[in-house]
């Protein structure tokens, strides 16, 4: 059966905003995942590592958490910052 998306694609194209959001999420997801491959990290540590503001890292990391790509590892000694890890890391252990 033909997909309805193929019909709409003939009538309209993705907006610039949509393309921008797609690109930004992919870029941040890749950067955060690469950083977390080295081991569990806090949000400020990831931000330092990838050179992005911590609030932006939190936004995308929590989006990844929501979609089951990331999980909580532990909390630091001062009970201030959680450490996060990639979901696959746990499975590999």
């Amino acid at each position: 059966m033909a997909r309805t998306v193929d019909i709409i694609k003939k009538q309209r194209h993705a907006t610039g905003a949509a393309k921008e959001k797609l690109k930004e999420y992919n870029r941040m997801k890749k950067a955060i995942s690469t950083a977390l491959k080295e081991g569990p990290m806090t949000i400020p540590q990831i931000a330092d590592k990838i050179g992005e503001p911590p609030d932006k890292v939190l936004y995308y990391l929590m989006t990844m958490y929501k979609f089951n790509m990331v999980e909580v590892d532990s909390i630091d000694d001062m009970d201030e910052y959680y450490l996060y890890r990639l979901k696959q890391q746990k499975n590999k252990k």
């Binding site: 905003a17 939190l58 929590m62």
Partner: protein
């Protein structure tokens, strides 16, 4: 896919599917009247469905509201139209004619809410139901207890990759869905259009939007619900678990400089509620409320306030003048201590702005040949507040809930009860005039 076909005529049109609209619709439907309930959002439930707990009982808001939401959605006498709008209401000799515009969500009612589409969608957009704290996909279920639990496509942010359509088990993605417009009649109209939240970016000296660790009370409310955006309560600037939280009361209320001179009636108590919940969730945290006056006027409110004080919540009688950020993300509040008359400063690691309630002026554009009068604050005017609180300046048009002014949840339900009984009484009168035999 065809959208829901409305009836040609309803006894009542209820505009707004929040708790006031639902309560009015349910009361009238239980009396046998046919009701069209029109909600502009993807889900009914209004703002209450997004709250954590209610004051002063600390009952779970979702547990109270979801049974009503389900009852409304399944009632045989209520036709619910979500993601729909009412336009161009014309008053006629007996009743009203209006345009019902159902907008496409590009997902049919066969959606099971499995969320497989969300998993594969590659676009992330700010989640409006989490007040921007986290992202959602371009195809999304509005929130975990949305009703109807049907996904919707944010077409402006869709890249038309088709992945959602590929994975959808019941094949309910339909990009060919079109808007549906109908002319419908109703004998009476109930305005339950609710309120809007104050936008704190207007008060620039508080730094909302600029300082990431200044949040609104609604953002904190979302952090306190079980389906919170983060894994715990965190400050949005860097993910730190906050341990010294400040609330700034009367943000956008009782403030002529922002055009809202009246009290929002709920901020003192929702801030007190959140402070108690925070002390439960973060036992080591200090919570301080900066207030002008505490208005604990309802049943059990004063005891609730005293309970918060006994738990250790700090109350400082002081008007906050300015907030600025330090290098570590902490915030300094400069305030006038009203008790001592001195200007003081205090440092906190998270600031919550207790934003007020504003009128939703959308009702002013609904009517074409009549005008629903507004009160001095732009809420729907109750022309006979003491003896007939739901009546408006237009015969046959009634008002329910916060469309007529700020009020809390129990008062909203009371107001909706008044609106439904006055509407029922009006319908009886009109139908007897049309068909005297009915009497």
């Amino acid at each position: 896919m065809k959208m829901r076909e409305p009836k040609k005529h309803y006894d009542v049109l209820v505009v707004g599917g929040g708790i006031a609209g639902q309560e009015t619709a349910l009361n009238l439907a239980n009396l046998g009247y046919k009701v069209a309930l029109v909600e502009k959002d993807y889900s009914i439930g209004g703002k209450m469905i997004l709250l954590s707990k209610v004051f002063p009982t600390l009952d779970c808001a979702a547990c109270i509201t979801t049974p009503k939401v389900s009852e409304t959605a399944r009632h045989p006498n209520i036709d619910v139209f979500t993601y729909s709008e009412v336009e161009g209401i014309y008053k006629q000799e007996k009743g009203f004619r209006f345009t019902l515009r159902q907008k496409p969500r590009y997902v049919t009612e066969d959606c099971t809410g499995c969320q497989l589409c969300e998993q594969v969608c590659p676009v992330v957009v700010e989640d409006e139901y989490q007040y921007g704290l986290v992202g959602r996909k371009a195809i999304f279920i509005p929130h975990s207890i949305a009703n109807p639990r049907i996904a919707a496509i944010d077409i402006e942010h869709c890249t038309f990759c088709g992945l959602c359509e590929n994975v959808c088990p019941p094949k309910c993605i339909d990009f060919t869905q079109q808007e549906r417009v109908d002319q419908v009649y109703a004998t009476a109209v109930v305005l339950a259009t609710g309120y809007k939240l104050f936008d704190p970016t207007i008060i620039r000296r508080y730094g909302y939007g600029k300082y990431k660790n200044v949040v609104t009370a609604m953002q904190m409310e979302r952090q306190l619900v079980p389906t919170r955006p983060f894994n715990n309560i965190l400050r949005p600037g860097d993910g730190k678990v906050p341990d010294n939280i400040a609330y700034v009361l009367c943000t956008g209320s009782r403030d002529v400089t922002v055009g809202n001179p009246i009290c929002s009636q709920v901020c003192c108590m929702y801030s007190t509620k959140q402070a108690q919940l925070l002390m439960g969730a973060l036992p080591m945290a200090d919570v301080t409320l900066y207030y002008i006056n505490i208005r604990a006027f309802g049943k059990g409110f004063c005891e609730f306030y005293q309970q918060a004080r006994a738990m250790g919540v700090g109350y400082v009688k002081g008007k906050v003048g300015r907030i600025w950020e330090k290098g570590n993300g902490n915030l300094v509040l400069r305030y006038e201590d009203i008790e001592t008359g001195e200007v003081a400063e205090a440092e906190h690691d998270l600031v919550v702005l207790s934003i007020g309630i504003l009128p939703n002026k959308d009702y002013q554009k609904l009517f074409k040949n009549v005008k629903v009068d507004q009160d001095p604050y732009s809420y729907v005017k109750q022309i006979d507040e003491l003896t007939s609180p739901a009546r408006t300046s237009v015969d046959g048009v009634f008002v329910a809930g916060t469309a007529s002014g700020p009020m809390d949840i129990p008062d909203t339900i009371l107001s909706a009860g008044a609106a439904s009984s006055e509407t029922a009484s009006y319908l009886c009168k009109v139908y007897k005039e049309i068909q005297p035999s009915l009497s």
